[in-house]
Amino acid sequence: MIEFLAPLDRKLARDLWAIKGQALAIAVVIGCGVGMYLMSKGMLASLADTRAAYYERYRFADVWVPVKRAPSAQLAHITELPGVRRAETRIRAGVILDVEGASAPITGEIQSLPFIRGPHINDFVLRRGRYPDPVREEEVLALEAFADAHNLAPGDHLYAILNGTKKKLTISGIALSPEYVYAISPGEIVPDKKRFGVLWMNRDALANAFDLDGAFNEVVLLTSTGDNQEPLLEQLDRLLKRYGATGAYGRDQQISDQFLTNEIQELETLGRLLPPIFLLVAAFLLNVVIGRLVDTEREQIGLLKAFGYSNSAVALHYLKMIGVITFLGIVVGVALGLWLGHGLARLYMDYFKFPFLLFRAPPEVYLVGIGFCLLVSAAGTFTAVRKVVRLDPAVAMVPPPPPDYSRSGRWLEMLTRWIDQPSRMILRHLYRWPKRAAMSCIGIAMSMGLLIGASFSMDAVMVMVDISFNVIDRQDVTVNFVEPRNIRAVQDVLHAPGAMTAEPFRAIPVVLRNGPRTRREAVIGLAPQPELSRVVDTDLNPVVLPDYGIVLSDKLAELLAIETGDTLRMEVRTGRRPEVDVVVSGIVKTYMGTAAFMDLAEMNRMLRDDMVISGTYLLIDPEQADAFYRALKNTPVVAGVSLQEQAQNAFYDTLQDSLGTFVFFNTLFAGLIAIGVVYNSARISLSERGRELASLRVLGLTRGEVSYILLGELAVLTLLALPLGALLGYLLAWTLVQSFDTELFRIPLIINPSTYGHAALVVLFSAAASGLLVHRRIQRLDLIAVLKTRE
């Protein structure tokens, strides 16, 4: 096939074949960059599009207004408010569920079904079975993730404690809902399909159970206000104040959507941060390989020009070579991106319950990715191609003098006086070409940095979880009562078998205002020196809650732009609904969500309540956990429980699945970069110095000794790259920590020594692997062929 090509193209084909390993290494690095970009941007677009389509089609609400109890007639007033497109009332309550085979009680939510079927706000997608029969009180729809986790099918039964009464329910159908794309129980950090259930029930039946006949406890709205929702929220709050409105909120505070938004943000960050690193390395590799190829082919270039090939014809020859490599990289990248994207979509389907989620990167993502790639190639090879164009044939044809090593510094001479010749060759070579050495070093360091940046998140999240579960929230169980109760209720709970220690808390819905900044928040009232659910300062030392004012978590303080000692307007949205000014008496550390704390006694004083609590934290005897759970499931006053251990396990599982996969691929990619850089450097050195090495072999140096000269240099560069890589990794981790700082999560900047060690090992291993590849080439070095030709 090669015979049909013009001579110059034949040279191209043979040259490419000769550097196929290097070309492939570069293509793979380009491919990793493009693939990462396609994956993250494509997934971002797919997720955003799917979310938009799903929300649109099933009319995901814009605003939620929970109240205590409002007469149905209020709906008319709500509908009249400006900016309201549509409003619907419903009943929504927390329930404790009990499923055959599950020992621990399950926290859940139950919602009323609209009276009439048809398009509604927050419509659900019926996946299997049928809608509950309007006259059958016990029939319910169940959320698909929950039903699947417990192997529940239409026709199966489960129990629910509805307002203190245990009821046997029958599942008639399985559904999805835009409200529960990320089905997570309030206060948890990762979804646990088994431990959070959602049911939909006929409205009459539910109204009966919760004593809400002719009334509702939540309004959901579609609005036309766009981003400027605040005035409408204020109006809704005012209108429904009498009915115990705890605070209207928009999508930004809807928990499922919050998590989705968070995920989209993370994808955005990854797409912004990681692909450029790969492409930078690719540009660097192209620069090195093509640059040095041009250097070694200097005489040939001069010759071609002397024969009458134009500058552009010769330049085109090299551009074609760059083009082929880049094209290969793009092909690898698109294939990799599609593969990773589909994999990620499958992974997401486990967490985000959309009716469908297809990975489909929009054309502009491909265009931008490929455009970047071309840009990077152009940037990487610009100087080399310019050199080709500028090379004067007369100059190029004069054989270059041997490279001048006489400029070695005095200190180097002092240093090398005592070492053997091969080592001296290594050091002089490094000293003679400091820019090359630095470039290779930086390339290797980048791969190590990438490794650290990718895997540190695992360390950091582990620490975050450890702090959250073992330093801050040390209780085994959190019990929420249906209604606020007197503190004596703690004693009742302690009577349950296995309950060991209890600490009361009270949570009240409030709106916090600092000037124009407003936050809807739950303030937790705690005993001054809690032992179970604790409050810790930024150094993780337990804090004694001051008996005045309010203590804010660091993120909340940041969001409200407030500092210790400042005053905050607090509007309580329960009981007598006092509105008071409170002093910020402290700022504490949390890694998950936002939080505000008060002294429990002070809170009750403020609300002019006796010692009222809304739940209790508990330590239980693990031996008697089952008995305790059984008792809890039959306790009418309990509205919800959360179990620390299960939550922690769910978290670790999720971590392994999602972050583990992420870390795995990044390790793979970073290893590829390391191989790409080391292998390329070694190959280029080999081709430049083949003659030198062959001479040494002729002189009687063994293959091992000759390999040492070439690979020793790489070893030095690799070792030098390790500390630099550690630094780059730290910087990357720092950047990631900054950009992952969201309302939902903050991760601490903690990098375990083992992460540095692991990254160093991967780099060393990759370097060793490429060293071995090159060593094998040195083994096969054809002495005679090299010596016969002059350069």
Binding site: P402, D404, S406, D420, Q421, M425, E692, G700, T702
Partner: protein, 238 residues
């Protein structure tokens, strides 16, 4: 045979072919020769006649397709690669047309490269002194002229006190004046150290300094002449 009478190098029926089928090239077609100890041998012949091939095989750089090479009592052709390397390291000095110095090492260090691994070397200074470069020892190749570089290459080749010195067109890249200086260095080594020396050249004039002249053509040794009265390189001219 007594060691004194044993030839330094002996070859029997060497052939070397490249490729196969129609495109087979016969570089050597049955070469037998024996080089007595301490002799200076010049190898003449047209381009492509197989001179370099022969020299590389005798020096253990290459192996023949068939035939045997003896070095003293050892059969080179029976050595594996490791032994060949060892052999080159101890017994053979090579000098090529292109000097093949290591650019990152000074003249002295280029020589030391070999003396460090040889069993019974002279010092790099002695070797460089021998080729008349005592004053340029700390210069890098880039700071030396072609002739000087070639003399460093000779110093490097003889510093280990090799049994044989094999030179492939050592003056090929040099003008006649410089060439003679280089040849003088080679002759001096041959004379003073008694190193068996083979020199390939295209230049028949150089043959006058040899004890023995082998003429090759088409992969065979056509003629062997002995020269009872070799002349000193300084008397040569071309």
């Amino acid at each position: 045979m007594e060691p004194e009478n044993l030839p330094a190098i002996r070859a029997e029926g060497l052939t070397k072919t490249y490729g196969s089928g129609e495109s087979t090239v016969h570089a050597l077609r049955g070469v037998s020769l024996s080089v007595p100890r301490g002799e200076m041998v010049v190898l003449l012949g047209p381009s492509g006649s197989g001179k370099s091939t022969l020299l590389n095989i005798l020096g253990g750089l290459d192996s023949p397709t068939s035939g045997r090479v003896f070095f003293d009592h050892d059969e080179l052709t029976a050595f594996d690669d490791r032994h060949l390397t060892q052999f080159r390291r101890e017994f053979v000095g090579f000098v090529f047309q292109f000097y093949n110095l290591i650019p990152s090492l000074t003249a002295r260090e280029n020589v030391a490269l070999v003396t460090e691994i040889a069993r019974n070397p002279m010092t790099p200074e002695q070797a460089l002194e021998l080729v008349g470069l005592g004053k340029r020892m700390d210069h890098f190749p880039a700071q030396l002229s072609g002739g000087e570089q070639q003399r460093v290459a000779i110093a490097r080749a003889i510093a280990k006190q090799p049994r044989v010195l094999l030179c492939d067109e050592p003056t090929g890249a040099l003008d006649s004046k410089t060439g003679i200086v280089v040849l003088e260095a080679i002759a001096r080594v041959n004379r003073e150290l008694g190193t068996t020396t083979m020199v390939i050249t295209h230049n028949a004039a150089i043959a006058r300094m040899a004890d023995r002249i082998l003429s090759m053509a088409d992969g065979e040794i056509q003629r062997t002449e002995t020269n009872p009265a070799p002349c000193a390189p300084a008397e040569l001219s071309w």
